[in-house]
């Protein structure tokens, strides 16, 4: 009997080599630089700045100031950055309705009904000589305070973390505890000048 003709085989051993070559190329060029950061909205340029500012009462403003020596001044008091988060939370919530903390106004909010919402605004001021690292640390603490409050309320109300809630519930919480951080117009506060 004659042997059946053999099917010619392609030698695929080298295809692995080629793929490896390409693989190594992409391995080397890959940069997983996922950009992370704190998102902020800048205010649009307004010509008449004074009008908007004079409306806000002093008790409703939480002044956080960072000077050129990177010192933190909160509502006129020197403060360590580790205390800032608690202080900010106290300001935003004003649980005891203290007269020196922000006013509240009644609002109708989905999921919450008629509630009293704080009118507080955080004003972050800095000098031209403040280092960016310190500035972002302060920004981060203020954001953290807001996020912690939101998470706390989400837990109380919906028994879920804020990030796990659907969008409309997140919006409701955002309305319930508005975290407004205003980055002040540039000023020269002193204690060292200009860019170094």
């Amino acid at each position: 009997m004659r042997k059946a003709p053999e099917i010619p085989e392609i030698n695929t051993g080298s295809s692995a080599d080629m793929a490896f070559l390409l693989l190594i190329f992409f391995l080397v060029t890959t940069t997983f630089d996922t950009d992370k950061g704190i998102i902020r909205m800048l205010p649009p340029i307004v010509e008449k700045q004074e009008k908007a500012e004079s409306k806000v009462k002093e008790r409703n403003v939480f002044v956080v100031l960072v000077n050129a020596k990177d010192q933190l001044l909160v509502e006129g008091e020197l403060m360590d950055i580790r205390q800032l988060r608690e202080k900010t939370k106290e300001f935003l919530l004003n649980p005891l309705d203290l007269p020196n903390l922000p006013e509240k106004e009644e609002k109708d909010i989905p999921y919450f009904g008629k509630v009293r919402v704080s009118k507080g605004v955080i004003s972050l001021q800095n000098d031209r000589g403040t280092s960016y690292g310190k500035y972002l640390e302060v920004q981060n603490e203020l954001t953290a305070a807001g996020n912690e409050i939101k998470d706390q309320i989400a837990m109380q109300k919906f028994n879920k973390h804020f990030d796990d809630l659907p969008e409309d519930q997140q919006d409701a919480i955002k309305q319930y505890v508005p975290v407004m951080i205003s980055e002040a117009e540039p000023k020269n506060i002193g204690a060292g000048k200009g860019r170094k």
Binding site: T12, G13, S15, A16, A19, F20, L22, L23, F26, L27, T29, T30, T31, F32, D33, T34, D35, K36, G37, I38, I39, R40, M41, L42, P43, P44, I45, I81, R82, N126, D127, R128, G129, T130, S131, Y132, G133, Y135, L136, E137, Q139, N140, T143, A144, N147, E183, P186, G194, R195, K196
Partner: protein, 155 residues
């Protein structure tokens, strides 16, 4: 010798055909995830640490502004500089930069454009403030302070 030949008559062969499949799988993964760095950095940018950092969702909507200290001290000095795309620029150039970045994006996405500020932690706020004001004037209002996840400053 004869004893050995009897035993080693058959050679065990590994099938290598599946190996290329596996390698190809890796290859495609890296091909898809690769992003070619569009600009080579000319400034040192150590972004500050923060705990509340969030990922930016849509990368194609992001434009980058780098501010840091030049690597080439002899040529560019030790003052912090602004890098847009591949070159050093001044604050006044930001307007044009934003305009050109905006033109590259589709009309629907133009309003969602985010400017990511990659700024070294030792840069003074003076230059940052100038950049922010320039962004406001160019009405690029959504910005991102780039940071990395780190809470060591609280300890």
């Amino acid at each position: 010798m004869a004893v050995f030949r009897k035993k080693g008559g058959r050679k065990a062969k590994l099938t290598l055909s599946s190996m290329s499949d596996i390698v190809f799988m890796f290859l495609f993964f890296f091909m898809v995830t690769t992003t070619f760095r569009s600009a080579s950095l000319k400034v040192r940018v150590h972004v500050p640490g923060a705990t509340e950092v969030k990922k930016i969702e849509n990368k194609s909507l992001v434009s980058y502004i780098y501010i840091g200290f030049p690597f080439n001290v002899k040529m560019y000095g030790t003052e912090p500089r602004i890098q847009l795309n591949d070159t050093f620029k001044e604050v006044d150039d930001i307007r044009d930069f934003i305009a050109s970045e905006r033109a590259q994006k589709s009309e629907a996405d133009q309003t969602k454009m985010t400017v990511s500020l990659k700024i070294d932690k030792d840069v003074k706020m003076g230059i940052v403030t100038d950049v922010k004001q320039a962004l406001r004037r160019a009405s690029a209002l959504k910005i991102n302070y780039s940071g990395r996840k780190d809470d060591s400053y609280l300890k």
